[in-house]
Subunit: 163 residues, 2 copies
DNA sequence: ACTTGTCACTATGATTATCATAGTTACTAT
DNA sequence: ATAGTAACTATGATAATCATAGTGACAAGT
């Protein structure tokens, strides 16, 4: 591709988000980070992206202040990637994407019964479905409040990919 | 690019959404459709995307059941594009993207005072800020409930693009 | 000491999506 | 007959992504 027009200089907030999020690799890597998978090889395996792409996008996420590269051990030095606050704030976007897909992107029965990923409100244990306000206790829901639980069919796929 | 791996066959809902939404052109065109801009030339001008791209993505959105191509006049036949229910359901995603950018993607003072786009709850007139529940009346907010009002600086940019 | 293994990448060459610019089709208006 | 508009399509150049392979730094095992 030629040099894409840069959207960072538009004043439109959707345009600015699109500059970052309008990229499959970025979205998949963010998904991994939100699932707590922080290591390069794990991310590459789960997303099925080539290492150069993972490398390039992680660098981008770091320079954009969305992820942070940390050494998790010395000798040998090994690094992993953590979401910053700016990165964690993207949870609402990924959650909205998940909610849309749960409703619109599956054939009937494809996920077994119920959702491909169930989200549980840690504080009260309620299955929140696709809500942004806990149907059990009324609390508003953000990253950290929820625990994602893949359905058995999705879990099987993830194991196949990792293996 | 070579044939990308297709994400539609993953069971992960974020992956399925990413297959569609992980594309700058798709996001920008959706933004236009949500703003009620339905005609090819208008979309192309506002997004600054080349007509082939607009054409290709609109076709994709139609085959995915997200947009619908309608004739708005005969003699000469002219078409425009409307969001379907499946498309309208993507509002939460775009709204989350806007909310994230309003908080994280601007330098201080860059939008004048306040947000780049203000959203007003049609029913009660309250400025909802970045909420998903109206702070004025407590109603939950979806597409159709809100009226987007670009700030003066953003409006100026849009006029410049269209002109 | 030497092989094997792991992690986090980088290198190379092929493919193809997107770009910039221009052209097309089908009609209306003057 | 000429000019204009809407909604595209065609062509050739450029660069992002692909598939496959390789690298560097270290650890563990024989």
């Amino acid at each position: 591709m030629p040099k894409r027009a840069n959207l960072s200089d538009t004043l439109c907030p959707v345009g600015r988000s699109a500059e970052l999020l309008g990229d499959r690799a970025v979205l998949l890597i963010l998904r991994e980070l939100f699932f707590g998978r922080r290591r390069f090889e794990v991310i590459a395996a789960n997303t099925a992206l080539r290492p150069q792409l993972v490398s390039a996008r992680l660098k981008l996420l770091v320079t954009e202040g969305i992820a942070e590269r940390r050494a998790y051990q010395e000798r040998p030095v090994r690094h992993d990637y953590w979401l910053t606050d700016k990165g964690k704030a993207l949870f609402e976007v990924l959650y909205a994407m998940r909610n849309w897909a749960e409703r619109w992107a599956y054939a009937p029965g494809e996920t077994g019964d119920g959702h491909a990923i169930r989200y549980i409100h840690r504080a009260c244990g309620a299955d929140v479905g696709t809500a942004t306000i806990c149907p059990g206790c009324g609390a508003s829901l953000g990253y950290g409040d929820l625990k994602g639980e893949p359905s058995s069919v999705l879990k099987a796929e993830q194991i196949a990919r990792a293996g």
